[in-house]
């Protein structure tokens, strides 16, 4: 039987009826709420394409059950900033022209945003370590590192 959950995404509460409470959050965001982000990359928590913030922490929405996310505050890339009021990382991403296909972009920006929230002035090694288990197939890693550094230097 369908179970009802309330998801708070980018400050807005949504009620969804879910057939399977073990369903990963990713499917609720995409299929129930119709969001274009985050994205399905592996479904295994290995790549980061589905990353969102749950109560400020970067989490991989493809492995978190919707039932575990229902009481939290969820932020997606689209909720991080807007063209009118961009997050410093979004500005830096454009300045460094980082992404190519950008299928991976949720992972990189949301993970880096959580890092900067916790540590506004990270060292180079801290940046690399925070981004160490993200995958990009276009090879934008170096550019992403430079963008995070630029955003941190404000």
């Amino acid at each position: 039987m369908a179970e009802r959950f309330t998801l708070t995404v980018n400050g807005q509460a949504h009620t969804v009826d879910i057939d399977d409470p073990a369903m990963p959050l990713l499917y609720a965001l995409r299929d129930e709420l119709g969001l274009s982000n985050p994205r399905f990359g592996c479904g295994l928590g290995q790549c980061g394409a589905c990353t969102v913030h749950l109560d400020g922490r970067a989490v991989r929405s493809c492995t978190i059950p919707v039932s575990a996310a229902a009481r939290g505050r969820i932020t997606t890339l689209a909720g991080l900033g807007t063209p009118e009021n961009p997050h410093p990382l979004q500005t830096a991403w454009i300045d460094e022209q980082v992404s190519q296909c950008a299928y991976c972009i949720n992972g990189w920006i949301m993970t880096a945003a959580a890092l900067l929230e916790e540590k506004p002035k990270p060292s180079d090694d801290e940046i690399k370590s925070a981004l160490s288990d993200l995958i990009c197939r276009c090879g934008t890693h170096g550019a992403a590192f430079r963008a995070v550094k630029r955003a941190a230097q404000g």
Binding site: D19, G41, G79, G81, C101, Y103, I105, G139, T140, A143
Partner: protein, 755 residues
């Protein structure tokens, strides 16, 4: 939402939460323009209107029958058009591959976007400008040669009152003007107008670096990709693949998914899928479905024995592409013969997102939303597969995961079309991770063998380079035929494999030279998880790993410096300049490899160079690496890349393209190998198909662009990456005196080689 709205067709969220496709008729607000004609001529390549339109608001729409997923062709080609039309680049919008609106210019293929299609569109833009100036001359009553154009406004130089804009002349109407067309489509399509294009001295926009338009949409999470197309009544599908290659479904227990809401089975010949209205329910159904599969014994050699298999397999086709003099005679006259053999693994496209596509087939018509690189061919292939006339099929390209070759997007598009035709409602197919690695068509493994004969003076007088590999065209480079998609294999269409490989474009001038290739039969003919096709820079990495490592072997064998040795045998000025600029930028000290001083050091540093010419692109790459003998880990420290692509349209974007692909090339060099056992591919996720992470990114990448505005632009999208394996291999030799002969250079393999 700017870039998406440029598509004139938007997928947007309705208040209900359902998504629908809005079709905006072009030119619905036609203004006062009276030149040209009101209705659009047929969508044929000999019509200017097939490539370019001036809208009522003065914007210029370019119809580009290729695609740009994010490398920057979109902005670069907009620049080329803006330059010739004398309009601001911000006013140029691109429509990319929609078979109802663009002609087939080849899709993304061979890094030909700028060198071919960009140049053709430049000519179209120049022709449009010529026609517009003629119209203005007659409207204003001023001779054409007394008019000038700035920002899309034509002015009489002698009379400031006499001006008229492009929009006022023709906005919303059509030129109905003919172009010269060579009658070909795809990569071979050539069109031109009568107008001359600008000289480099006249450029204002070409050579500048405006930023990409797609990036803000991506950065703010506002870009709809193919994954985000949602249609009313749409079913989500998951394909069911066998655990043993070659097995086909014998029976399916539909009761095994009876409890999942809305889930049902689609089983057509050997094609098996589950569908459900909710995506997660399709995923669950795919996991739960009970299938009895036929017996299959593929007897694959396994990835560890693959190169032994390639060596021993009978040759199906042998082709000598270059033969100068007589290699046998040269070898007879040599005082010394050097031989080298190099192995390259099977590699996957391994796109970050497994493929996704949406199809809507009904009433004898089909529309597919696809992220394949070659949507026009996908249209043809789907028509072929569904038994529809091609004009009844529309393929609309959308952004998606980066593909870099004939990846699995074409297969997913065909699957969606077959399922939608069967169900009579829209279907979205999303492959799962294991499919994106285990079932995509692969880049072939190969063995590259070289021989060289050296005379008493140390001169190389004979050189032979022969690759032996699976065919790069076992699956064609596009999906234009049902035989070349997985669905076609499963629906038992007759197969159409071809045999081909390649040779290095060796500009080295050796007296006796032979370059060739041999192909062998595929390990499995139908529905193989190891189908081979084009993977980005389709034969560069495997062949250049062999040929450019062997050039280094010859240098070392004659106690020559690797840069000096290359220059000794390169005569073309652009070849020589690329090598010279790379060496100078790096600060190369002339000496033979290896650096003897650190031969037994625990941690050794070395530098290596590799060079190629591909079309009219000339590239030299120097890699400096650190290698640890006890761990076997190679750390890329510094890359220097000298890059001559002729005319540079957008220098900053070009730098980004080179930078990103050198990182990608490092992944293919150090990490990537498709593993498989006797039954099936065992690389099914990012743990079993390791790729590069942040820790292995080169600490610095310096790109030296060699600018040649007078030379035609060549391609840049994939040429540099093919040099990475040899440059790193040569650097390891410089550091340690040990030559690596097998990609990827994993720690275990490096440790074993250095032991």
């Amino acid at each position: 939402m700017e870039a998406s709205s440029e598509l004139n067709r938007r997928v947007f969220l309705l208040a209900s939460g359902a998504l629908a496709i809005a079709v905006v008729a072009p030119f619905e607000t036609a203004g006062a323009a009276t030149n040209g004609v009101a209705s659009k001529p047929p969508l044929l390549p000999d019509q200017l209107d097939s490539f370019l339109a001036v809208e009522p608001d003065g914007t210029v729409t370019v119809f580009y029958g290729r695609i740009d997923g994010g490398q920057g062709l979109e902005i670069s080609i907009a620049q080329m058009v803006a330059e010739e039309l004398d309009v601001p680049v911000a006013r140029v919008r691109m429509v990319m591959s929609d078979t109802a609106r663009t002609v087939n210019m080849g899709g993304a293929s061979g890094a030909l976007g700028i060198s071919r299609s960009g140049m053709h569109l430049r000519s179209c833009a120049a022709e449009a400008r010529r026609l517009l100036v003629e119209m203005a001359a007659s409207t204003l009553g001023v001779p054409a040669n007394a008019l000038s154009v700035t920002d899309g406004v034509i002015r009489a130089r002698e009379d400031a009152a006499k001006t008229i804009s492009y929009a006022d002349l023709i906005g919303g109407r059509y030129f109905a003007a003919h172009l010269t067309w060579n009658g070909s489509y795809g990569n071979d399509l050539v069109v031109s107008g009568r107008a001359r294009t600008k000289q480099p001295s006249e450029f204002k926009i070409i050579g500048t670096s405006p930023r990409r338009k797609d990036l803000p949409l991506k950065v703010f999470g506002r870009l709809d990709m193919v994954n985000d197309v949602r249609l009313p009544d749409m079913m989500h599908a998951r394909m069911i693949r066998p655990k043993v290659a070659g097995a086909v479904p014998v029976s399916v227990d539909e009761r095994s998914i009876a409890e999942i809401p809305g889930a049902r089975v689609v089983h057509i010949r050997n094609l098996l899928a589950v569908v459900a209205p909710k995506e997660w329910n399709a995923v669950r159904a795919a996991e739960r479905l009970k299938v009895t599969w036929s017996e299959s014994h593929p007897n694959f050699p396994g990835h560890d024995q693959l190169h032994a298999h390639i060596r021993n397999a009978p040759v199906v086709r042998r082709h000598i592409q270059t033969e100068n003099g007589s290699v046998e005679e040269g070898l007879r006259n040599a005082v010394r013969v050097i031989e080298g053999e190099y192995e390259f693994p099977t590699q996957s496209h391994a796109s970050l997102g497994p493929a996704c596509a949406v199809a809507d087939v009904k009433n004898g018509e089909a529309t597919v939303w696809t992220s394949t690189q070659k949507p026009h061919y996908a249209r043809d292939g789907i028509a072929n597969l569904l038994g529809l006339p091609p004009e009844k099929v529309r393929a609309i390209w959308m952004f998606g995961t980066g593909s870099y070759g004939r990846n699995d997007q074409g297969d997913a598009t065909a699957d969606a079309a077959v399922l939608s035709q069967h169900l009579g409602r829209p279907v979205r197919v999303q492959y799962m991770r294991h499919e994106g690695l285990a079932w995509d068509p692969k880049g072939t493994a190969s063995v590259n063998r070289s021989r060289a004969g050296i005379d008493a003076s140390g001169k190389v007088i004979a050189y032979e380079n022969i690759s032996k590999a699976f065919s790069r065209l076992n699956t064609a480079t596009n999906e234009g035929r049902a035989a070349h998609v997985l669905a076609g294999h499963l629906l038992e269409v007759p197969l159409e494999p071809d045999h081909s490989f390649e040779v290095p474009v060796a500009s080295y001038t050796f007296d006796h030279k032979r370059l060739g290739w041999e192909t062998i039969a595929p390990l499995m003919e139908r529905a193989s998880p190891l189908r081979t096709t084009h993977l980005r820079d389709p034969y560069g990495p495997p062949i250049l790993f062999g040929s450019e490592s062997f050039i280094d072997e010859m240098a070392a064998g004659t106690s020559a410096d690797p840069v000096e040795f290359r220059l000794r045998y390169l005569s073309h000025p652009r070849d020589r300049e690329a090598v010279r600029v790379a060496a100078e930028t790096y600060g190369w000290d002339t000496r033979p490899s290896p650096r003897n001083a650190q031969r037994n050091a625990e941690v050794a540093v070395g530098r290596g160079i590799a060079f190629r010419r591909h079309f009219e692109t000339f590239i030299a790459l120097i890699a400096e690496i650190r290698v640890n003998r006890s761990t076997g880990v190679i750390e890329p420290l510094r890359y220097v890349c000298a890059h001559d692509v002729g005319l540079i349209v957008n220098p900053e974007t070009l730098r980004h393209v080179i930078d990103r692909q050198l990182v990608y090339g490092t992944s293919r060099t150090l990490f990537e190998e498709v593993r498989f056992d006797e039954n099936m591919v065992t690389s099914v996720d990012w743990a079993t198909y390791p790729v590069l992470h942040m820790a292995s990114v080169p600490q610095s990448i310096e790109i030296e662009l060699i600018s040649r505005p007078e030379a035609a632009p060549s391609g840049a999208g994939e040429m540099a990456l093919g040099l990475v394996p040899a440059a790193i291999g040569n650097a390891v030799f410089d550091a340690t005196g040990v030559r690596l002969r097998r990609v990827p250079f994993t720690p275990e393999r490096v440790k074993a080689a250095l032991a």
